[in-house]
């Protein structure tokens, strides 16, 4: 019998190919903490990535607009939707239209740095990635992105 380090799930979402040690951040961004059963694997061997993390979320079928939120920290993650023990959908991460409360604005004089305000960033360019703060309109490039 094949043994699994992380148990297979019958229904739910599997997020694979998360960069090593980023699984907890992914859970945080997706707001999955205390929202049902999660199995988390950290530091698994991966041919492609060396080390990788994996998350299995039971009885939750995450939509594309939800999983695209992790594009900044896990751009090469794969999303597997499992129904009745079978893989029914496999997809890649794409850039969302907007990042909501994921990125910290680099402008210390932005209202989001001064008050309790949800940050919003829109994509200006994808290659290289350039974002604009919805509030102060400051431009940030991929090297300057700081996750909240």
């Amino acid at each position: 019998m094949k043994t699994y380090k992380v148990y297979a799930i019958n229904d739910g979402t599997v997020i694979d190919h998360i960069p090593n040690a980023k699984a907890l951040k992914v859970i945080d961004i997706l707001g999955l903490e205390n929202k049902g059963i999660l199995t988390i694997g950290i530091g698994f061997s991966s041919r492609k990535m060396g080390r990788k993390d994996i998350i299995k979320i039971e009885n939750k079928f995450l939509k594309k607009e939800e999983t695209d939120k992790i594009s900044l920290i896990a751009p090469n993650a794969t999303i597997n939707i499992i129904k009745n023990g079978k893989l029914t959908e496999k997809r890649k991460i794409e850039l969302p239209a907007e990042y909501l409360n994921i990125i910290k604005c680099s402008n210390p004089n932005c209202i989001t740095s001064k008050a309790n305000v949800i940050t919003r960033f829109k994509i200006v360019k994808t290659s290289p990635l350039i974002l604009r703060c919805h509030h102060c309109e400051r431009i940030i490039s991929s090297g300057e992105i700081e996750i909240l």
Binding site: N109, C110, I111, K114, I130, C136, E137
Partner: protein, 305 residues
């Protein structure tokens, strides 16, 4: 674009059609149309930091169209001093008036206010970010002298790195595809991302460190103040500020048809001797703040359709 009920926060929220609408409305107001159209309407001016032209011209604009004004300038005698949040102030005040004009030292404050307020919010400056009605009045002033904004050959002189006025006007004119010259010392040159965006919108841009580097005839020179505090070395500041001073002689070199604009306040980047020349538009430009802000108030309040 239907302006009724809309907040005016950033120049990036508008297209050329919206600019043309504001210009056309301001022109009709200047001819005396729409008198009294804001009767029984109330404006709240919330100035969290000082202003001369913007606050007074908004208040004049409201009163000239028959409306009333409440508000504060500086937060010393408000609940802000007691620690009230911007969100609570806006939520409260939006129940007291028909439209809010806000100036705030923090960037993004006006956008946040517009998302909380029940009535339209007009941004009268949020830190170094946006001041859209300044851009509208700049466009309106240009339109009085140049029938097609796409043809205006405009040079921007001075602090192009930090100047929000320049950034907004250059962006707006790029939507009309007007050709532009950016004249600034290396330390204060236009941010590259903005120049790229302006070119992507269809404008041609030329960068040079001094006016001598402009080899073609300009229609307009838009001058901005070079701020001392941007320089660590005062000798360097004196040298740069001296190179960017517009005098009668400079106007002569630029040609008799050149128009000189400036968002004001100025320090000494335009010599007083230029004020009397027909080329000087800056006070006329400041006075255009009234019809343009009347147009904006009338449109967002739905009194001008």
């Amino acid at each position: 674009m239907d302006f009724k009920g809309k907040s005016i926060i950033s120049i990036r929220d508008f297209d050329t059609e919206a600019f043309d609408r504001i210009i056309a409305t301001a022109r009709r107001i200047k001819k005396g149309e729409f008198a009294g159209c804001l009767m029984n309407k109330l404006l709240a001016t919330l100035f969290f930091e000082p202003s001369t032209r913007t606050r007074l011209s908004f208040e004049s604009a409201m009163r000239y169209l028959g409306g009333e004004v409440i508000g504060f300038s500086g937060t010393d005698y408000t609940s802000v001093k007691k620690g009230e949040t911007l969100s609570d102030t806006i939520m409260t005040v939006s129940g007291y008036c028909d439209v809010i004009v806000i100036r705030h030292p923090v960037e993004g404050a006006a956008r946040l206010a517009s998302e909380i307020s029940k009535v339209p919010v007009i941004n009268a400056g949020d830190g170094a970010n946006q001041h859209p009605t300044q851009t509208f009045l700049d466009l309106f002033t240009l339109s009085e002298f140049f029938p097609r904004l796409s043809d205006v050959r405009i040079g921007f002189l001075g602090d192009l790195k930090y100047g929000r006025t320049v950034h907004s006007l250059a962006y707006a004119l790029s939507l009309f595809k007007a050709p532009m010259w950016f004249i600034a010392p290396d330390l204060l040159k236009m941010p590259a991302f903005l120049t790229d965006e302006i070119e992507e919108n269809g404008s041609t841009t030329h960068e040079t460190e001094d006016l001598e580097g402009v080899n073609e005839t300009l229609d307009v020179l838009y001058v901005t103040r070079i701020q001392k505090e941007r320089f660590g070395d005062m000798q360097e500041y004196e040298r740069v500020a001296g190179c960017y001073r517009v005098t009668k002689k400079v106007v002569d070199i630029l040609g008799k048809n050149i128009k000189i604009m400036h968002p004001l306040p100025r320090v000494d980047e335009i010599a007083r001797e230029v004020d009397d020349l027909e080329n000087a538009l800056y006070f006329h430009q400041a006075h255009n703040g009234i019809p343009v802000r009347q147009a904006v108030l009338g449109l967002v309040l739905g009194a001008i359709r």
